[in-house]
């Protein structure tokens, strides 16, 4: 075999592997999408084909109102939790990262070490006392039950984002800020007029990740949200599974797709930011 032939063979092999892996990634989701339009369990479990015999939206209609409230309620509830969480994270993580990356103050090294170590602190160990804390604050009342999920984000409790932004900030040269300082900007103005525009892609990236993670969050709402009227989509989906006696898969899958849809749209609209965000913390540090 010549070198050229060997090269061609290797390249072909690589593409085959990549396409194979791609199929494993995508096919299950396509099968799920197809199944949500199929008319019965029988049809779903009788072939590996995606295309239904007859497109039916019945599963979506039935699933939408399969529980006490429609899925519309659950979706609205989800964003009542997610959007404040995103705002809180962006504000608090930016301020904290700015403080760590651009100033000297007493104990900074120690505080940063603490911040990094909390990255490895398992949430499991905090859940119980946090629950008791919020219970004492009266935040378990149905009308307040989103507060335990939202308030901590305003205090930069998702430290990963602080870490991420600090990493980005370290890569940004300080000349502009110094110029701004000479022109008489105070530190807050510098942050707003100089840093934020440069840091915007990273901030967007943090916002997107928080959006995804909070939309998908299950354990948080499971612990704190006890009234069905307040359920976010993750709990609503779980409820519709439990409520479904005959286990009509098309219905459950249809609702799964509806809960995934916003996340998928956001992902496709902003893939680049996701990829940059996920590599930020690890490669530069």
């Amino acid at each position: 075999m010549t070198r050229r032939q060997k090269n061609i063979m290797n390249t072909t092999l690589r593409y085959l592997v990549l396409i194979g892996v791609g199929t494993i990634m995508i096919y299950p989701m396509l099968w799920m999408l197809g199944a949500s339009f199929k008319s019965s369990n029988n049809e779903i479990f009788s072939s590996i084909g995606i295309i239904p015999k007859k497109f039916s939206l019945q599963a979506y209609i039935n699933g939408w109102q399969s529980t006490e409230y429609t899925f519309f309620t659950y979706l609205v509830n989800t964003y009542k939790i997610v959007l404040p969480k995103v705002v809180g994270t962006v504000l608090s993580a930016t301020l904290t990262a700015y403080g760590f990356a651009r100033f000297r103050f007493k104990g900074k090294k120690m505080f940063y070490a603490i911040l990094l170590s909390t990255l490895f602190l398992p949430q499991v160990v905090l859940n119980i006392p946090q629950y008791l804390l919020f219970r004492n604050l009266g935040w378990l009342e149905p009308s307040l039950s989103y507060l335990p999920l939202i308030i901590p984000t305003f205090f930069a409790c998702d430290t990963y984002f602080v870490f991420m932004l600090v990493q980005f900030l370290r890569g940004i040269p300080k000349e502009l800020e110094e110029a701004a300082k000479i022109d008489g900007c105070n530190s807050l103005q510098t942050l707003w007029f100089i840093i934020c525009p440069v840091l915007k892609p990273s901030i967007v990236s943090a916002a997107l990740f928080q959006f995804m993670w909070s939309s998908n969050d299950f354990m948080g709402p499971l612990i704190y949200v006890k009234t069905v009227a307040k359920y976010p989509a993750s709990l609503g989906l779980r409820l519709s599974m439990d409520a479904d006696v005959g286990f009509e898969w098309n219905k459950i899958l249809a609702m799964s797709i509806i809960t995934l849809l916003p996340s998928l749209i956001v992902f496709f609209a902003a893939q680049k930011q996701f990829v940059e965000g996920v590599t930020a913390g690890s490669v530069k540090g």
């Binding site: 690589r14 593409y15 592997v17 990549l18 892996v21 791609g22 990634m25 995508i26 299950p28 989701m29 099968w31 799920m32 479990f45 590996i48 301020l95 904290t96 403080g99 760590f100 651009r102 100033f103 103050f105 007493k106 104990g107 900074k108 505080f111 603490i114 490895f120 602190l121 398992p122 499991v124 160990v125 905090l126 859940n127 119980i128 006392p129 946090q130 629950y131 804390l133 901590p152 205090f155 930069a156 409790c157 530190s187 995804m212 993670w213 998908n216 299950f218 499971l222 612990i223 989906l237 599974m241 799964s256 809960t259 996340s263 998928l264 996701f274 996920v278 590599t279 690890s282 490669v283």
Partner: protein, 313 residues
Amino acid sequence: MRRNKDVQISDAVLKRRGFRYFLKENTGFLYILPWLIGFLVFKLYPFGSSLYYSFTDYDLFKDIVSFIGFNNYTQILDTAKIRKAFEVTFRYVFMTVPLKLAFALFVAYILNFKIRGVNLFRTIYYIPSILGGSVAIAVLWKFLFQNNGLINQILSIFNIVGPNWLGDSKYSLFVVSLLRVWQFGSPMVIFLAALKSVPTDLYEAASIDGASKTRQFISVTIPLISPVIFYNLVTQLCQAFQEFNAPYIITDGGPLGSTTLISMLVYQNAFKTYQMGLASAISWLLFLIVMTLTIISFMSQKYWVYYSDDDGR
């Protein structure tokens, strides 16, 4: 007149100096203050109090909390169900993490060759991870591994009768673990970025010296991306030990407790039967295990993680 005005100004400056001076010296501290408050209230205090609760018989329905020393911990060791959950968690972690990382590195390695449509492949591989812990993805997994689900239908094409994946305690944990391996996207993206940063002249030099592709991978690639391997290892370990959603949705811990992970046990004891003391003890034991492994990983760095000198510090 003029002199008088100057005096007034400097007086005012002096008055404000204390506060200004404080601000100037501690601006950074003020910026991190929200985080610090959050850390104290939502992290440190809960962290400490859960240790305290773990030595008590705290029960949400009882008013009196009494200190019972190591009783919760001895109860953990004495209860077969809890011991089993620890065993299952270990099996789960040591199955999921190596498989996921190996797969992520393998795919990233292939993607790093001059491949057309790298971005397309990368996007496709990343989709399952971005949907992460969502309930819907766990539902999908449950669906695929039904008796007549996609997996068994594909197996039957090859004349293999697939097992009852979710109903058989031999396979159930594997199925749960496979879901997380399938979501190899984020470590892969990180590996890929690291692979791209390996200077190509190193490979050229190695191949002039007659090193084969495998040899180059082991002697050049692995050492150079070892910081990233380390990062992925630690983050994945932390995540895997806390896995909750997948077994909760897919198998609800069954059959026969074969997928009951520690975090599920903590949840049941804390929020179903409200035995806060016992649940705290279980969570602390889990924390100690995770911490020990993290510290071991950090200490092992000097034997296998290579930090180049020109990269910052």
